[in-house]
């Protein structure tokens, strides 16, 4: 084959505009999905982790409840639900979701930087944010599977009975995405220049674990900690899922949570995008993309 060079870029067969960008995004999604499938250990982890992680909290709650489970009644009064196990598993599942996004989306570009493939994708004429967005789409699919698997496993192994409108739960999931992934985008952009961010992941997930009440109601926190919790979207996500899935809350009851999540989502997506653009400019000045 003779690869006769085109004399100008426009003389070459190319798609243009939004359609071309969507094709590129689809290619990133396909690439990530194909690579994901080639690591069987990741798939196995998807099935094992949801069962194991909440187990420590559930067993602790049973131990603390005492032989007559009297302690659970006090917990139930504070938490506003009779399903303590369901309460814990929803908290832990949101924590695991944020944790996975921080590791997988947050380190998506860093992984490419380490492999050496970031520069070759970066030199294409495609929209560069698609590289991060495509990775996130795959992570969302993986998380959908993860949450689906978790729900089945919680029902089978822990006897949790979910009691709510599935559509409202799906809406809660969709409105949680911008906040959780916006933070992931912001994180991914910072990691490219910082190159080492494990400590920051531990900090963020620690904050979520303590301030957002993944296994306890935030009412038990000191006043200043409750104030901090109000500024974390995960607080509302956890609360909203519990209300939607355990207490059968109506749309009207959940509306304030949805509204707050829209505001947080817009904020974190804007922050994530702004930091990505900043990283893009900075990388051109410092050559950070090729460093590892």
């Amino acid at each position: 084959m003779v690869t006769t060079p085109a004399t100008s870029s426009t003389a070459n067969a190319r798609q243009h505009g939004l359609l071309a960008e969507l094709s590129a995004l689809r290619a990133v999604v396909r690439r990530e999905w194909t690579i994901f499938r080639r690591y069987p250990s990741w798939i196995i982890a998807l099935f094992i982790w949801p069962v194991i992680f909440p187990m420590a909290y559930i067993l602790s709650s049973q131990a603390l409840a005492g032989p007559t489970s009297g302690g659970l009644q006090i917990f139930q009064r504070n938490a506003g639900t009779t399903d303590v196990v369901g309460y814990i598993v929803i908290g832990t599942i949101i924590w695991m979701w944020q944790n996975i996004v921080l590791w997988n989306v947050g380190f998506a570009l860093r992984e490419e930087q380490l492999r050496g493939t970031l520069e070759s994708s970066w030199m294409s004429p495609s929209w560069r944010f698609s590289l991060l967005l495509g990775n996130s789409v795959v992570q969302m699919l993986v998380m959908l599977i993860f949450i689906g698997v978790s729900l089945v496993e919680f029902t089978v192994f822990y006897g949790v009975r979910f009691n709510g409108d599935p559509l409202l739960v799906v809406l809660m999931f969709l409105l949680s995405i911008p906040s959780i992934y916006g933070l992931g985008f912001a994180f991914a952009s910072v990691v490219i220049t910082a190159r080492e961010a494990n400590a920051f992941v531990f900090l963020v997930r620690g904050l979520v674990m303590i301030f957002c009440g993944i296994t306890y109601p935030i009412a038990v926190l000191p006043g200043w900690m409750q104030s901090v919790a109000q500024f974390l979207p995960q607080t509302y996500i956890i609360y909203g899922f519990r209300e939607a899935m355990l207490n059968g809350a109506s749309f009207q009851a959940l509306l304030p949570v949805y509204q707050i999540l829209v505001v947080f989502g817009a904020f974190w997506l804007a922050v994530g995008f702004a930091l990505f653009r900043r990283m893009e400019r900075r990388a051109r000045q410092t050559g950070a993309l090729g460093q590892y």
Binding site: I35, R38, E119
Partner: protein, 354 residues
């Protein structure tokens, strides 16, 4: 209007570097520059801003259809120059145009005009097959799927990868991975190719295959800028060569023109057992001897020593006398026509591999 495929004018790239005590005193490496200390208004000393100049005032004009070799040792500024031309890096100052497009203001058009092989085998996904890699990059370059399928089949055939196209790249040899990287660069049929050390780490056979490919691509009309620190490669492939050292292009011309610069001189290659450092100075004191560059071969305490002289016949007895002392001995010696390596030694006083 000119017809340069690649053009650079007074191109400079400086990187900020954390100040060290040495750099603050102005000792910032050969190509480094240090800005003067500044003070905050409240009397606190601001950390001195140290800068490393990786590319220093480079001017280049590469014609369409030309193979231009950028030859220099590691860290000379070759890759930084290429990264500026392919829009990965923004020049600190100066201008660069690729296919007539400004690398800063028209970066998207520049990327559409270029095929690049940077980082070689690491620039492709090892957990994908060759075909999956090419399909992915074709979509990133906005090539319609139907067109991409035909081109991918053709490129796989050309790179002799058809039989292994559906195997994971991680199972390929380094040479095969490099061929996938070259195929990726050719997907969009770009008029200009930037190849950064395309044969680095390849075995001789794989390197020869890549060099043949470069010749074929030139014959097809591609403009090629290749960087290398292998002087035979630059000599064999390039229509013109720019020798770069410490960020500056110190010589530019056809391989023949560059070698003519030292055509009045002979290059002497010696193999010496038991070389002692002070012998270099002793040889330099011989009349007409210059640029004595010793290099340890890594085997049997043997050193390779290169030197240039205007009169090898007159100087050879003196060289042997000065080396065959105190247990040191000359085990091999050749007088050869100067190569590009000798040109580099003549210009810089050091070998390319240093």
């Amino acid at each position: 209007m000119n017809n340069w495929a690649i053009e650079a004018e007074q191109l400079i790239k400086r990187f900020p570097r954390r100040a060290t005590p040495d750099s603050a005193n102005g000792d910032n490496g050969p190509a480094g520059k240090t800005e003067p200390r500044t003070r905050w208004p409240f009397g606190r000393k601001k950390e001195p801003a140290a800068w490393f100049t990786a590319v220093d005032d480079v001017d280049l004009q590469i014609q369409q259809g030309e193979v231009f070799g950028l030859l220099g040792p590691n860290g000379a500024g070759k890759s930084t120059t290429i990264r500026m031309l392919c829009t990965l890096l923004e020049p600190t100052s100066g201008l660069a145009r690729v296919n007539g497009f400004d690398v800063v203001k028209q970066s998207n058009q520049v990327r559409q005009s270029l095929g690049t092989v940077l980082a070689g085998e690491r620039s492709i996904y090892w957990k994908l097959t060759a075909r999956e890699n090419l399909e992915y990059f074709a979509a990133l370059f906005h090539i319609p799927a139907k067109v991409a399928r035909c081109r991918i089949d053709d490129l796989l055939e050309r790179m002799e990868l058809t039989n292994r196209a559906n195997d994971l790249v991680e199972k390929y040899s380094t040479g095969m991975k490099q061929r996938v990287a070259v195929a990726r660069a050719l997907l969009a049929q770009p008029p200009i190719l930037l190849l950064d050390e395309p044969t680095l780490g390849l075995d001789p056979q794989a390197a020869r295959r890549v060099r043949e490919l470069v010749k074929e691509l030139k014959a097809e009309g591609h403009t090629i800028l290749l960087t290398t620190h292998y002087m035979e490669e630059a000599d064999q492939l390039s229509d013109r060569i720019g020798i770069i050292d410490q960020g500056k292009v110190i010589a530019l011309g056809t391989p023949a023109e560059l070698k003519r610069r030292i055509s009045q001189q002979d290059a002497i290659r010696l193999e010496v057992a038991g070389w002692q450092t002070e012998m270099a100075e002793s040889l330099r004191q011989l009349p007409t001897v210059e640029n004595v560059v010793p290099h340890y071969t890594g085997t049997d305490s043997l050193w390779e020593v290169n030197l240039l002289t205007a009169n090898s016949r007159a100087v050879l007895p003196g060289i042997i006398d000065r080396l065959n002392t105190n247990g040191t001995r000359v085990v091999n010696m050749n007088v050869v026509q100067p190569t590009l390596e000798d040109v580099f030694i003549h210009l810089t006083g050091k070998a390319l591999r240093d």
